[in-house]
């Protein structure tokens, strides 16, 4: 029986800290050699550029609506171009004294859009609200009644026009897209062919060729002496374009519905339209909500193309504001950044919202 000698065990190293700022930095910024190198390179670049950018954009910037102040050596960004020209940029060629009207109209429209996104407003009377707000929007913009000065549509511009084009084209495109998507899945060969041709034709060409068509060829299509406002022509063009893309998205959702669902509906004795309305579409649409939101975002951005056919929405209104004014023209980049920021705010909030909708839709699938 030998005496066991006491042998101390070497102390274990303290566990690696996994929480807290320091641990996060160690793992995420200085994990290994390559990571540390990347951190140094990118961090260095950011530390080098960011102060310059901030000093150009904020600290050395000139905010006064005075172009002489911008021409001084060493002055950074000239935001005066925005303070001076914001009314033309936001409202285009709309008569200057009447600009409260597009302002109110835009605010109403924005309020409506935000409200439609909120769950508390998802009732049947929302449709009524839409009709009401659209009516007010047009009355305010067009005038000609209630003692308002009449403003022809060719003077509309800026943000209200962007909002109008995107909202109306999307609301009109949705039902068309539904019908076309159902048509492409239909068993009737003629209807299927027609829908396929429509989708492939539109998706194969760029939006501007559709817009050119709306602005140059549409008048030729109409009977003599019958002319349609250029705004409506362009609206029709964007709608048809957006509908073709949306139809493909919805078709994707329809394809993902298991055949058993439709067979079950047929067993219950539901007709075609009942099956689609009560069984297929609710599931299919819920499935493709994220893609539809993507579609909304791209259509919103695409409305900027109408500037090529001489409608002055945001982008066009900016060129309108600055091209004619040689004093302010050198500061166009600030103007571009301003409207880029507007577009960004809209599109980014839409994409955030789409994320929220996605979680709402997926709730039923969570366990």
């Amino acid at each position: 029986m030998t005496a066991t000698l006491f042998q101390p065990i070497a102390p274990r190293p303290a566990p690696v800290q996994h929480r807290g700022l320091i641990a996060w930095v160690r793992v995420n910024l200085f994990g290994d050699f390559v990571t540390s190198l990347m951190t140094l390179v990118i961090g260095g670049a950011i530390l080098y550029w960011l102060p310059q950018l901030l000093s150009w954009g904020i600290f050395r910037a000139s905010w006064a609506p005075n172009f002489d102040a911008c021409r001084v050596e060493g002055v950074g960004a000239c935001w005066g171009v925005v303070t001076e020209k914001y009314r033309i940029i936001l409202f285009g060629r709309y008569p200057f004294e009447e600009q409260w009207r597009p302002l109110v109209a835009t605010a109403l429209m924005l309020g409506l859009l935000v409200a439609s996104c909120m769950r508390a407003f998802w009732h049947a009377w929302l449709a009524l609200l839409w009709a009401l707000v659209l009516g007010v929007f047009f009355t305010l913009m067009y005038g000609g009644s209630l003692g308002l000065l009449k403003v022809e549509t060719d003077r509309w511009g800026g943000l209200p026009l962007t909002l109008l084009l995107s909202t109306l084209s999307l609301t009109m495109a949705f039902p068309i897209a539904l019908v076309v998507a159902l048509g492409r899945r239909s068993n009737l060969p003629a209807i299927k062919t027609v829908c396929t041709i429509y989708v492939e034709l539109i998706r194969g060409v760029p939006l501007i060729s559709v817009l050119f068509m709306a602005s140059f060829m549409f008048p030729l299509f109409m009977p003599e002496g019958f002319s349609i406002d250029v705004l409506i022509r362009v609206l029709v063009g964007i709608t048809l374009f957006a509908a073709a893309y949306m139809a493909e998205v919805i078709r994707g959702g329809l394809q993902a519905i298991p055949k058993g669902q439709i067979e079950a509906a047929a067993t219950l004795g539901l007709s075609y339209w009942q099956t689609q309305r009560k069984i297929v579409l609710p599931q299919a649409l819920a499935m493709v909500v994220p893609s539809i939101m993507n579609n909304f975002i791209s259509t919103f951005k695409d409305t900027s193309l109408v500037t090529i056919v001489s409608l002055y929405e945001l982008t066009g209104a900016l060129s309108l504001a600055l091209n004619s004014d040689s004093d302010w023209r050198p500061f166009k980049i600030e103007g571009y950044l301003f409207i880029a920021a507007i577009y960004f705010v809209f599109c980014f909030s839409m994409s955030r919202y789409s994320g929220w909708v996605e979680t709402q839709v997926n709730k039923s699938k969570l366990r």
């Binding site: 995420n28 990347m38 950011i46 060729s209 050119f212 003599e224």
Partner: protein, 391 residues
Amino acid sequence: MTSTSPPKKKSWSWRSQAFRGLIYQLIAIVLIGLAVWFLAHNTLTNMKARGIQSGFDFLLGPAGFDIGESLYAFDSAQPYWQAFLVGLTNTLRIAVMGIVLTTILGTLIGVGRFSRNALVRGVCYAYVEFFRNVPVLLQLLMWYLLFTEGLPDSLDAWVIGPMFLSKGGLSFPIPVWASGHLWGLLGLLLGAVFAVLYRKWAYQQFEKTGVLKSMFWVPLGLLLATGVLGWLIGGAPSTFNAPIKGEFAIENGGSLTPEFLAVLVGLTIYTAAFVAEVVRSGIQSVARGQSEAASALGLNPSQSMRLVMLPQALRVIIPPMTNQFLNLTKNSSLAVAIGYPDVVSIANTSLNQTGRAVECIAIVMLVYLTTSLSTSLLMNWYNTRSAIKER
């Protein structure tokens, strides 16, 4: 099996599904036919009333306008169809270069979203969110403004190695064509044949012995080696036509106009944001267990990436990637806004000169339809080839 399906009613009654379908289709066809007839009739009467001529005969007449940028010499005396051809080559040039650059940049950024480095992740995320959420037209206009206003005059051009960057665009050296280059090309061709033969052999070896030989570096080495060998045999011609600063402008060398650069850079950066998302979703779609299984089998990281992860990710990536390529090609039509003479811009000029709206727009649509449909055919073919083979 036939006994399970309900007996088809052949009667001409409203209760027969086949009959109703027939009627619906008839109604649809008649309505569409009427609409087309209505539009065509109106167009013809309008054109007659306004004295607009129709037909494509104008394509043979002299164009009467110059094109600032073309792959081959074009002057205003040449016919319209050649002008359209110049526009087409300009569009294709943007599309091809844009697709290549976008794929590289987009893949890098998409992979960057998975980086272990938080800064890289953050920068890639910010890139995607910013460039995706601003209209591409606005971005093109901004790039054009930067290239024409932000850069120095051509006399104070920035020097980047042998290249010059200025308001006049980018000037770069181009090799002078010599007969020796032909030998180099022949060498490359021979190398390609060798590379294909080597790969076949390597596959056979793999099937026989299970030893995987290098499938990429050895063929590439073969290709380059024979190419260089051919070039050496041809006498190693290496004269370059390098740009030099002349008295008034930069002379010699090849050059890219600021319009071209603005369209290319703008489209590449915009589309890369979308491609990055496509790549990210593709990589995410591969189940985690797959890479674990690969390493359990003893594959090293690059093998597991090449043999296990990528083939599965590509199935998810290819269809949306096709869409992005098509979008890039179609968005190149926005070049009309900054005066790059692509096919839309040429058509627009021709339209204003001749008034043949229907024909010019038809040509544009035809061009894009052909490219779109052929690209999607090609990609669908590739897609079916790479899709999962099930039972």
